[in-house]
């Protein structure tokens, strides 16, 4: 045991990964129908491993935390800005309700158990997981009209109460919001979030369907066909819809036909077009085309790709005009997206620069079309780290400046700044995919997951020893007091949001997590919802909650003293 402790103390980074590994393991454990979840699991693992007296610097915590905040912002940016105007005030109000309830319940519990001002401040700071409260409370205590020794005693009580209730606050908030609240509201969280995604974003990604909108099929031109003796150009222009002869087999040889080639009986042609056209027009009796299976002829590579329109000549053209361009031959439009919103593919839909066209066709045709349209956005494994890092730094620099008002610093704060950085980058990415880099979703997943569990692991490691010491000093009533404070205020917020504001449950839980600045709870909710919708409610609520909770330090000291 000592040898392991020695290694872990010499290499705290291994202790860090040990906490993560144990945490994900604990996270899979179910207690009845409740699941612990990776976040709570990691926190507990951290407390456990923390008993080895391992210290890990705060830089580690911060790095992971910032990555997490940026990632959740990036993912929800588009929906956030769309919803902000209509729902922003609602989120702020609900966050205020949660924060005010937190103060009142904390005060009530304090009177109930007869705590002094220092313990009361620690209780509120800890159970609502806002360390800024400690600062304002100490400030307020120093201004009280008391003897110096009493002030010192009060001040010393703050961190003890904080250490104990902080863990209760983190775990309690995560558990109440992710497990208890959906059960009380009787909603299927994952389902509600999926619905919300569908409402705001059109449809979400679905598995590939068996039906392909556009197909490539091979036909033999029979002797009786009216196409014998007519040209490829006639054939392609005949139906009114777009079909193309991609290549053909003539006398056993595979050749690329020119537009003025005249069909002979016995030629086999590979035709691309909409499935409906192929099945219902080309395969009707009177065309004299018989479908055949010609593997070699059809074995060409196809490609589906997103292209951002940058060519000035295309700006303002309708899809019909676009389809007539030389470069559009053999290419079909699947989707058109503007500012992250799907547009209908209609003949007279007008294309603008910055639109994203999803096109499909054979490799060479797609390449030609991409050159004409603009810039291809190919799916790769690569993350645009420049955008990630710049977003974090810029966000932080915006978030940090604060105004001091009566002893309370009011500003966006670092976390909200970085979250905002992520939101803006995510939003810009959906609007201007050419300039704003790609973050593949497995990467976002890892940012979100390891970002938060990494943060929580350090919190647990560092808080572990203090927690045990604190409980020994002050007893279990403080644990109870913390649990009451955090759960009552959150549950009130949940019910108010559901019945008063009629919010979507996913967003609602995000707002509640924000109202008591409990980021781990947000991650737990997202884990339970298997969706990032909850973080839509988080941003505004966090900013509001942050300010209120910081002020509570002053208020509770004055109330109790």
């Amino acid at each position: 045991m000592n040898a392991i402790q020695g290694i872990l103390q010499a290499h705290p980074e291994i202790a860090f990964f040990l906490v993560l590994g144990l945490g994900y393991l604990f996270g899979k454990v179910s207690l009845g129908s409740f699941k612990l979840g990776a976040v709570t699991g990691t926190l507990l693992a951290g407390v456990l491993v923390g008993q080895f007296e391992i210290t890990l610097s705060n830089d580690v915590k911060q790095c992971f935390f910032l990555l997490f905040l940026f990632a959740i912002g990036f993912r929800t940016g588009p929906q956030f800005f769309r919803g902000l105007r209509s729902d922003g005030l609602q989120h702020a109000t609900l966050a205020a309700i949660v924060a005010v309830t937190g103060l009142l319940v904390g005060w009530f519990v304090t009177t109930l158990f007869g705590y002094d001002a220092g313990t009361a401040a620690g209780l509120i700071a800890g159970s609502l997981t806002e360390s800024a409260t400690i600062g304002t409370a100490m400030d307020a205590i120093s201004k009280l009209d008391l003897a110096e020794a009493e002030k010192v005693a009060l001040n010393n009580n703050i961190p003890v109460a904080f250490a104990v209730t902080y863990l209760v606050g983190v775990i309690g908030a995560a558990w109440v919001l992710s497990q208890l609240a959906p059960k009380l509201l009787r909603v299927d969280l994952a389902e509600e979030c999926r619905k919300y995604e569908e409402q705001t974003l059109g449809s979400t990604s679905s598995p590939p369907a068996a039906r392909r909108e556009f197909e490539l099929r091979a036909y033999t031109v029979t002797r009786a066909s009216p196409w014998v003796g007519r040209t490829v150009a006639d054939f392609e222009a005949s139906g009114g819809t777009r079909v193309f002869v991609e290549r053909m087999r003539s006398r056993g040889q595979i050749v690329d036909p020119t537009l003025d080639y005249t069909f002979r009986a016995g030629d086999t042609i590979a035709v691309s077009g909409a499935r409906t056209t192929l099945v219902e027009v080309l395969e009707s009796e009177d065309t004299g085309l018989a479908e055949v299976d010609d593997r070699d002829l059809l074995n060409m590579t196809g490609e589906m790709i997103d292209v951002v329109v940058t060519n000035r000549q295309l700006d303002g053209l309708t899809l019909v005009d676009l389809g007539r361009r030389e470069a559009a031959r053999g290419v079909f439009l699947r989707r058109i997206t503007r500012g992250g919103v799907l547009l209908g593919v209609m003949p007279n839909t007008v294309v603008h620069r910055g639109d994203v066209l999803t096109i499909v066709g054979l490799g060479a045709s797609v390449a030609r079309a991409v050159e004409d349209i603009g810039v291809a956005d190919r799916a790769t494994d690569v993350t645009d780290m420049a955008v990630v890092a710049t977003g974090i730094v810029a966000g932080a620099l915006i978030g940090l400046p604060a105004i001091r008002l009566g002893g309370v610093e009011i500003g966006l704060s670092l976390p909200v700044g970085v979250l905002l950085g992520g939101l803006v980058c995510g939003y810009l990415r959906s609007m201007r995919p050419r300039w704003f880099g790609r973050i593949p979703s497995p990467t976002l997943w890892i940012f979100e997951s390891i970002g938060l569990t990494g943060f929580v692991a350090v919190v647990g490691l560092n808080a572990g020893p203090d927690f045990v010491r604190g409980v020994q000093e002050s007893g279990l009533t403080l644990v109870l007091a913390g649990a009451i404070t955090v759960s009552v205020s959150l549950l009130l917020g949940v019910f108010a949001g559901r019945w008063l504001f009629k919010m979507n449950p996913g967003v609602l839980l995000g707002v509640c997590a924000g109202g008591c600045t409990a980021t781990p709870a947000l991650a737990a909710v997202q884990e339970a919802a298997r969706s990032s919708v909850p973080s839509i409610g988080y941003g505004v609520a966090y900013a509001v909650g942050n300010v209120f909770l910081a002020i509570w330090g002053t208020v509770i000291v004055l109330l109790v003293a």
Partner: protein
């Protein structure tokens, strides 16, 4: 000025922002091309970090190690399969060649360092820069810290590493590319483009594989919709008896506005539209002689999927494909690929399936799920990373690596970073033969790789920042020249050796050389010069060996130099 002061104070209070700032600049400057060459993300991040380091930020140690471990684990995980496959049976020639070249890559910088009289720190920098293996910096750092030197001395060495690295890295990259792509072919008197064209012809086409978003326009298995009328003769009997001898399946039925899922016993009625899945040839040539194809979007819009299934079922073990195809649970699924011990085996009716095989099956989601449940464990492509396995791997590797064996006063151990690399290699390999756990999707692996290394490098740069400028003035030009020597000699020898002794095909040779030295930039240049992707064929396995050994050599060179000094 006030703003500037505020920014400096902010960075000092939140040093993690300094790291992200270095990354932001590094990743922005890194890819920019100057006269055909780019600095690369790592070097650009290092330089940016050195600049930021001038402000005097302090960053605690564990952060650096944390990201470095993550990086090494990812490296190991990525190359694991090729590493062990190479060790197994393929290409012992490539392995032997790689080992010889790698020995040169270690010895030549070592000799250069001795001749030039460089101290330990610069020597390590010279090695990692001239061989462009930034990962070795971390391993060397670990080893230096364990030498038991006075703290001040160790710090001086550690701060010298990035200087040596930055000075020699530039030629390490550009020089390797020039030597391999331009000089090399002339040296052995071959026309690279012609050699590649000939090789392609020999092998019958270039390397296969599709990028994301690219697919073959020919679909072997299709789903089509058909209208059933009374004259078709298909009504009134169970669908399993409709087309005896053909492995095609009625998937769904569109009847009176409702879509029903069909099973083997379903009977059809006149007026139904049915979706049939099956090989394209069977549909086009047999089914369509009986019924008329129609387009029916809602009917055909059924979710399909393709998964790798790891066979665990005892019921299937030892059965032939013909037998398995008759089982009710395999209704509606199509076999695409069989992989046994990482090698693809042909799909024939009499092929026996064994436990441990990986079957790639496709079909409608409903059927694939049913079949996967029968066969074993489906390895669905998911976005999430199995972080429990990642963390566990790093912990176990790290603990094993932390065990130290002291010989002749020099403590030798795998080091925690070496342990993480090894754990990654093993897990990456196990993942390919036993894909039941430890999923890391490509983009996540890329991220752990890139972010892990660059955060590490950024911290190295920020920490070394204050002494960097004076160090550079002290050793600059001569170190650069020694770096050229250390980069060029192993490569030139490698080309000659590979051509005259090992007799590699010239098309492959340069890929192998680039692989051993893990220099992707050079591979790009070679492919450009060859106008072909063939050289990449030689890149894989030597890369896996090179990446592993060159990293560990970071420790070896420290031991060699420290041993020589004492």
């Amino acid at each position: 000025m006030v703003v500037w002061q505020w920014i400096v104070d902010t960075l000092k209070t939140y040093p993690e922002l300094g790291i992200f700032l270095a990354l932001a600049i590094g990743f922005w400057v890194g890819p920019r091309k100057l006269a055909g060459f780019s600095l690369g993300n790592v070097t650009a991040t290092l330089l940016a970090a050195v600049a930021i380091g001038q402000l005097g930020l302090t960053i605690a140690g564990p952060l650096k190690s944390t990201f470095f471990l993550l990086f090494l684990f990812a490296v190991g995980y990525g190359v694991g399969p090729q590493f062990f496959r190479g060790l197994g049976k393929d290409g012992p020639k490539q392995i032997a060649f790689s080992l010889i070249v790698l020995a040169l890559c270690l010895v030549v910088p070592y000799v250069c360092a001795l001749v030039a009289g460089l101290d330990l720190g610069y020597a390590v920098g010279l090695y990692s820069g001239s061989q462009t293996i930034s990962a070795s910096i971390g391993v060397a750092t670990d080893q230096i810290e364990r030498l038991g030197l006075p703290a001040e001395q160790a710090k001086a060495y550690l701060d010298a590493i990035p200087i040596g690295y930055a000075v020699t890295y530039i030629f390490g990259t550009i020089g390797s590319a020039i030597v391999l792509a331009q000089l090399g072919p002339k040296l052995i008197g071959v026309d690279l483009a012609a050699a590649c064209a000939e090789y392609e012809k020999q092998m019958g086409g270039g390397p296969g594989g599709f990028d994301a978003g690219v697919f073959s326009a020919y679909r072997n298995v299709e789903v089509r919709a058909y209208r059933i009328d009374a004259s078709s003769g298909l009504t009134g009997k169970p669908v399993r008896d409709l087309f005896p001898g053909l492995r095609i399946f009625v998937e769904r039925v569109h009847r009176a506005g409702q879509i029903l899922e069909a099973d083997a016993g379903t009977t059809l009625e006149p007026g139904d539209v049915i979706a049939i899945s099956g090989p394209r040839a069977a549909l086009v040539e047999q089914v369509e002689t009986v019924v008329t194809e129609v387009d029916d979007k809602p009917l055909l819009d059924m979710p399909t999927t393709m998964v790798d299934v790891f066979v665990r079922s005892k019921d299937v073990n030892g059965r032939t494909l013909r037998e398995i195809a008759d089982m009710p649970a395999t209704r509606g699924i199509y076999l695409r690929k069989i992989t046994r011990s990482m090698i693809e085996i042909p799909i024939l009716p009499e092929t026996e399936i064994l436990r441990g095989d990986i079957l790639t099956i496709a079909g409608s989601t409903r059927h694939v799920d049913a079949a996967a449940a029968l066969l074993g464990h489906a390895d669905k492509p998911v976005e999430s990373t199995d972080l429990a396995v990642v963390a566990a791997g790093i912990v176990v590797g790290g603990l094993v690596g932390a065990l130290t064996y002291t010989t002749g006063g020099i403590p030798i151990s795998l080091s925690t970073s070496g342990g993480a690399l090894l754990a990654g290699l093993l897990l990456g390999y196990f993942r390919t033969v036993r894909p039941t756990f430890g999923n890391i999707p490509g983009p996540a692996l890329w991220l752990m790789n890139t972010l892990g290394l660059n955060v590490f490098i950024a911290i190295v740069g920020i920490t070394a920042g204050p002494g960097f400028v004076s160090g550079l003035q002290h050793v600059g030009v001569s170190l650069f020249l020694w770096g050229m020597v250390a980069t060029t000699i192993p490569l030139v020898v490698a080309i000659l050796l590979g051509h005259f002794v090992f007799k590699f095909h010239p098309a492959i040779l340069f890929g192998v050389c680039a692989g051993v030295r893990t220099t992707t930039a050079a591979l790009g240049m070679i492919q450009e010069a060859a106008k072909s992707r063939v050289p990449a064929l030689g890149y894989g396995m030597p890369y896996a060996i090179g990446n592993t050994l060159l990293t560990i050599f970071g420790m070896v060179i420290v031991l060699m130099l420290a041993g020589g000094a004492s």
